[in-house]
Amino acid sequence: MFFTYVARMLRRRRRQAVVVALGLALGIGLVVTVSAMSAGVRTAQDTVLHSLYGVATDVTVTQAAGGGSGGPARFGLNPRNEAQQGKSFSRDDVLQTPGLGTISQDQVSKVSDLSGVSAASGGLTLISIHAEGTFPDFGGSGSVSGQARSAPTATPSVAPIKVTSYSISGVDVTNSAVGAITPSQVTSGRYFTATETNSKVAVVDAGYAKQHELKVGSTITIGGTKYSVIGIATSAAGGQASNVYIPLARAQKLAGLTGKVNRIYVKASSASAIAAVKSEIQKALPKATVTTADDLAAQVSGSLASASSLASRLGTWLSVAALIAAFAVASLLTMSAVGRRIREFGTLKALGWRSRRVVGQVMGEAVVQGILGGVLGIGVGVGGAFLVSKLAPTLKATIGATGNSGPGPVGQALAAASNTVTVPLTAPLSASLFALAIGLALAGGILAGTLGGWRAARLRPAEALRRVE
């Protein structure tokens, strides 16, 4: 009789059931969408951290550039003599990553000997900049003798200069456990062998390889030397990931920094040891900057950080508000429906139905409406998540600005190549999200049913029968 009664009620009072279910569905759908978005933002954050950090790395050690070192890149683009004015030029230069100071390679073994450290390797990240264009023409061939030169023209003739850059990481090929790239990231070809310490071989990031049509077996020219591409790797997307990976010794030679590194990649023996490892390293290398994944997450800025903040604050509150509204709507509608059925429940009590049976009946109806709302809510949520995945913009994450990279196009190229990662925002759905939706729907149904049922049960039958519908 219970199921017959529930089924008849839902069928014959369809409009009311649909309104309650839709109210719940909207709330639950919003919760599913926002939760899926939050999961997407977390995934994006993980992607960013991995790409900025290296897959196996727990801690990185860097050192800020000391006074007098680094500074804006100088390309000597001003014409040295009038004869060069208006002539075209093409130059390559390999520079250290701006803002990073060098660390002696000896320090790597010092770090690897610290307790809690499972592996440590040094790396040298560089930027190769290619500039081509035409020397500026200041106009005329004015005399330089005696008199003052004629004043420069008001509108300086800035010749078009095209600057392209790519990042290079020198990898300690003798230690594949940790570093800017590890063997697991190689998707085609192979990783370096331990004997290739000074070989002219390179592993290229998949995105960069695609862009420049590089394959395993292709050659790439770095600083005028040809390197053979032995592998293509994924995950190289930003800051500490690079476009091209070469053996450390070759990178040191390119930059004229023999025996130096500018990053130490450290793997801790366990996740719980990371904090201790950080403080050990700080003690051993007081001038160094020691960064863990948590530090890095806190430094992430840009639209990803905004999305993360939005998802965790506004998203959560929006979900809670929507859910409260949905539960309130369901409860009020159920209570109002029960209010219209007071005589019906009074009649049932007159027929000898116990209050708990009447409450159970109301609750059964509310729970079925809740489940209906949950199923519809999943539909709304899946639709919302699909829309987020389709329409949401890609998120940009910028990590810890490294200071002035120099003015002009070269500086901009340096800055852009360093610390920004772009990740598409997705809203992944999972079984646990669906379980959450059904759980919420049941909770909504039970809440509405309890309130409605309580209202139905508390009246004495005589009082209920006196009510005028």
Partner: protein
């Protein structure tokens, strides 16, 4: 069967005290057909609700089969309603979403009667009131008389000791009224269950072998109309 002594029922409505029943004494024997007559708002329905364990008196005792329902726990009253009483209401009080048969079945649910037995008994009860072919109809698809027949089937399906009918013909036209009261009479004659009808309709009340009158909450075994003085106009004309 029933022994009511000094029964008073007082309501509070909008801060005003209303004496619905005052010092009512009444005995009803097993198998008796009693009509309680009186105008609207005089306490008829309140008395019926006390007889049917739907409410408790403010003071006095309502003894049914030796037990005072005024002091009985709520669960026991519920059991009595489920087993011993059958109700017929003026407005039928059928569940609008259930069919005629399912409505009749609702009276067997608290008795714990299982599915197939419940359906069979409901169909038989509907056949007894002449609605065997209307079992699958919703109340909205039935006429007023048919709806009241369904309500009578529901009141009788669990074979109660007392059938309590509150203005059972109040919402029916004259033809249907006779049909329904006739049905109640014949069922009473067949089954010899106690039947208590409250009505404002003298024509209906006269069908009962025993009548009582209620006026301003007081019960009397004498027709109060006998006591009404003859209007002055009537006397000059007479």
């Amino acid at each position: 069967m029933y022994e009511l002594t000094g029964v008073t029922k007082t309501y509070r409505k909008n801060g005003t005290r209303i004496n619905a029943l005052q010092d009512v004494d009444l005995s009803i024997a097993e198998g008796e057909f009693l009509a309680i007559q009186g105008p609207t708002g005089q306490g008829k329905s309140t008395l019926l609700q006390l007889l049917g364990a739907l409410d408790r008196p403010t003071s006095g005792s309502v003894v049914f089969e030796g037990r005072d329902m005024a002091t009985m726990p709520e669960g026991r009253l519920t059991d009595l309603r489920a087993g011993s009483f059958g109700f017929v209401f003026q407005t039928f009080n059928l569940i609008p979403t259930l069919t005629a048969q399912e409505n009749v079945e609702t009276a067997l649910v608290p008795r714990g009667v299982g599915g197939s037995d419940r359906r069979a008994r409901a169909r038989a009860a509907l056949a007894d009131v002449g609605l065997g072919d209307r079992a699958a109809h919703l109340p909205s698809e039935l006429s007023g008389g048919e709806q009241q027949r369904v309500a009578i089937a529901r009141a009788l399906v669990h074979d109660p000791k007392v059938v309590l009918a509150d203005e059972p013909t109040g919402n029916l036209d004259e033809g249907t009224r006779d049909e329904i009261i006739g049905l109640l009479e014949s069922l009473w004659a067949d089954r010899r269950q106690s039947l208590v009808i409250v009505t404002h309709d003298t024509g209906i009340a006269r069908r009962a072998p025993r009548r009582a009158w209620i006026h301003e909450g007081r019960l009397s075994t004498r027709d109060p109309s006998d006591l009404v003085p003859i209007e002055p106009g009537d006397s000059t004309e007479g």
